[in-house]
C-alpha cells in the first residue's frame, strides 16, 4: 500500500502530501483527500500503466477508488485472478 500511495502522489502531483499522511482507510474523494473526477481518470490510467489492469465495469469505480485499502484489494484480486 505504501508503493500505491507514492504512485498516487506522483501521478496526481499532490503537493504537501506524503505517503505517511494518507491513511489506508481515508476516503480518496470529496471530504477525504479531496480528489475529483479528473483525478479519477488519472487513477484509471495509473492502474493500467503500473498494474496492467483495466476496469471493465465503470460502475465499480466508486467502490474501487474509495480508499487506498480498497484500491490495493482490487489490485491484489485482479493479479490473483490473472495468475
Amino acid at each position: 500500500m505504501e508503493d500505491l500511495k507514492k504512485q498516487i502522489i506522483e501521478q496526481l502531483n499532490l503537493q504537501e502530501v506524503t505517503p505517511e499522511s494518507i491513511s489506508n482507510d481515508q476516503p480518496l474523494f470529496k471530504e477525504g483527500l479531496g480528489l475529483d473526477s479528473i483525478d479519477a481518470l488519472e487513477l484509471i490510467v495509473l492502474l493500467q500503466q503500473h498494474y496492467n489492469i483495466r476496469i471493465a465495469n465503470p460502475e465499480q469505480g466508486p467502490e474501487i477508488f474509495y480508499s487506498i485499502r480498497s484500491m490495493a484489494e482490487f489490485i491484489t484480486a485482479q493479479q490473483t485472478a490473472k495468475a
Binding site: Q11, N13, L14, Q15, G34, I38, L41, E42, V45, Q49
Partner: protein
C-alpha cells in the same frame, strides 16, 4: 477615443514586478539568452489542491490577474480577456511527449485539459467564480493588442463596467530550441543592460504575464488611461509605418510634439531595431526614448509588459535609468507612446495619457 482608465495592473516578469515598490528599484540583470520570470508565492492566490495541476504560465496569469484586481479593488470583473500567442506550451509538450512515448495509449487527461490556449482565462474565471464574458485571442504578435481592443469595445458598448484584460506567454525548453533554430536569439549570452547596443543579430527570449483592470470610470488608483490603440500588419517599408504613426496621432488629436516619452520595443537585434531608428529619426528626433525588452526579453505579448511599465512610469512620473535609452524625459509625463513590432510583421501603437 474615450479614455479607458487603467484602474489596476499586475505583472509577473523576469523583473521583480510582483512585489510592489518603485519601478525597477531592484533591477535584475542577466547574462543569458533566455529570461525566466521571478515567481512570487502563488499559494497566496491559489489553493494547494488546485495549484498542482497548473503549469507556470497558468500560475503567472492567475497571479498577474489577481494583482491587477486587488489594485483596482474589483472583486468580480464583468469580462475576462486574455491574449497569448503560444498558450500553455509546457502542458502541450507534456501531452504530445506522452502521446509519442506511449504510442497514443493510456494518455492522462490533465495535461490535455491544461494545454489549450484559453486555459488561463478559464482558470481565472473558475477561481473567481466569474461566469461573465471570457475570450482569448491567439493572434501571434497582436494577441495582447487584440485582447485590449476587445476590452475597449466592450467597455464602449456599455456591456461591462470593469474588464480584466491581459497578455501572457511562456517559454519552454522545446519552444526555445525550436525558435533558436529559426535564428531568433543571440548565439552567445549577452548582458541585458548592454543588449540594446548589441551589434549582432538576434535577441534574448523572455516570458511573462501582465493584466489590467480597465474601465470607462476612473478608479482611485488610476494614473493613466489608454487613449489610442492601433495595429499595422506587414508594412511594405519604413515609410508606411511612419505614415501610420502620423495618422494615428492625428486620429487621437495630437502630434509628435505632444508625446513626452517614446517607449519602444527595441530588442537588440540590429535588423529589427532599424525600424525604431527610422521612426525615432523621422518623428521623434529630440524626444526621450525608453525601452523594455532588455528587461523582459522578447515574446509575442511583450507589449503587455511594456504597457504595464508605461503605466507605472505615469504613476511615478519618472523614467527609471534602467529603462531610459535616449534623452531625458520631461519632469511631467502626460503622454507616452508605446510603439512595438514583433518580428517586423506585427506593429502596434498604444497611446497612454495621464489622468
Amino acid at each position: 477615443m474615450s479614455p479607458i482608465y487603467i484602474n489596476g495592473s499586475g505583472c509577473i516578469s523576469p523583473q521583480e514586478t510582483a512585489t510592489g515598490g518603485l519601478l525597477l528599484a531592484s533591477l535584475r540583470e542577466y547574462e543569458q539568452v533566455r529570461l525566466a520570470t521571478v515567481d512570487p508565492d502563488y499559494k497566496q492566490w491559489i489553493d494547494v489542491k488546485q495549484i498542482r495541476r497548473m503549469s507556470r504560465v497558468v500560475k503567472m496569469g492567475v497571479g498577474a490577474a489577481n494583482l491587477s484586481l486587488e489594485e483596482a479593488g474589483v472583486a468580480m470583473p464583468d469580462a475576462i480577456i486574455t491574449g497569448t500567442a503560444y498558450g500553455c506550451l509546457d502542458d502541450t509538450g507534456v501531452f504530445l511527449t506522452k502521446m509519442v512515448n506511449q504510442q497514443e495509449e493510456m494518455l492522462t487527461p490533465t495535461a490535455f485539459i491544461q494545454s489549450t490556449h484559453n486555459t488561463v482565462g478559464g482558470q481565472i474565471s473558475l477561481l473567481l467564480g466569474c461566469n461573465a464574458y471570457n475570450n482569448t485571442f491567439v493572434h501571434r504578435g497582436f494577441s495582447f493588442e487584440n485582447s485590449l481592443l476587445d476590452a475597449i469595445m466592450i467597455l464602449k458598448e456599455g456591456s461591462a463596467k470593469h474588464v480584466l484584460a491581459g497578455g501572457l506567454d511562456e517559454i519552454t525548453n522545446y519552444s526555445h530550441d525550436i525558435l533558436t533554430r529559426f535564428g531568433l536569439y543571440k548565439k552567445a549570452p549577452v548582458k541585458t543592460m548592454e543588449l540594446l547596443n548589441s551589434p549582432t543579430r538576434g535577441t534574448i527570449a523572455g516570458e511573462g504575464a501582465a493584466f489590467f483592470t480597465l474601465s470607462m470610470e476612473k478608479g482611485d488608483h488610476a494614473a493613466a488611461a489608454v487613449t489610442g490603440l492601433s495595429t499595422l500588419y506587414k508594412p511594405m517599408w519604413e515609410g508606411e509605418v511612419i505614415g501610420h504613426i502620423v495618422k494615428f496621432l492625428e486620429d487621437n488629436d495630437c502630434t509628435p510634439a505632444d508625446i513626452d516619452l517614446l517607449l519602444t520595443g527595441r530588442n537588440g537585434d540590429i535588423d529589427q531595431d532599424e525600424m525604431y531608428e527610422e521612426v525615432a529619426a523621422a518623428l521623434f528626433p529630440d524626444h526621450a526614448e525608453a525601452s523594455f525588452k532588455h528587461l523582459c526579453g522578447e515574446y509575442p505579448t511583450a507589449t503587455a509588459f511594456g504597457l504595464w511599465m508605461a503605466n507605472r512610469m505615469m504613476a511615478e512620473q519618472a523614467v527609471p535609468a534602467a529603462a531610459a535609452f535616449y534623452g531625458k524625459a520631461p519632469e511631467r509625463l502626460r503622454k507616452i507612446l508605446l510603439y512595438n513590432h514583433h518580428q517586423g510583421t506585427h506593429h502596434s501603437l498604444i497611446l497612454l495619457t495621464a489622468c
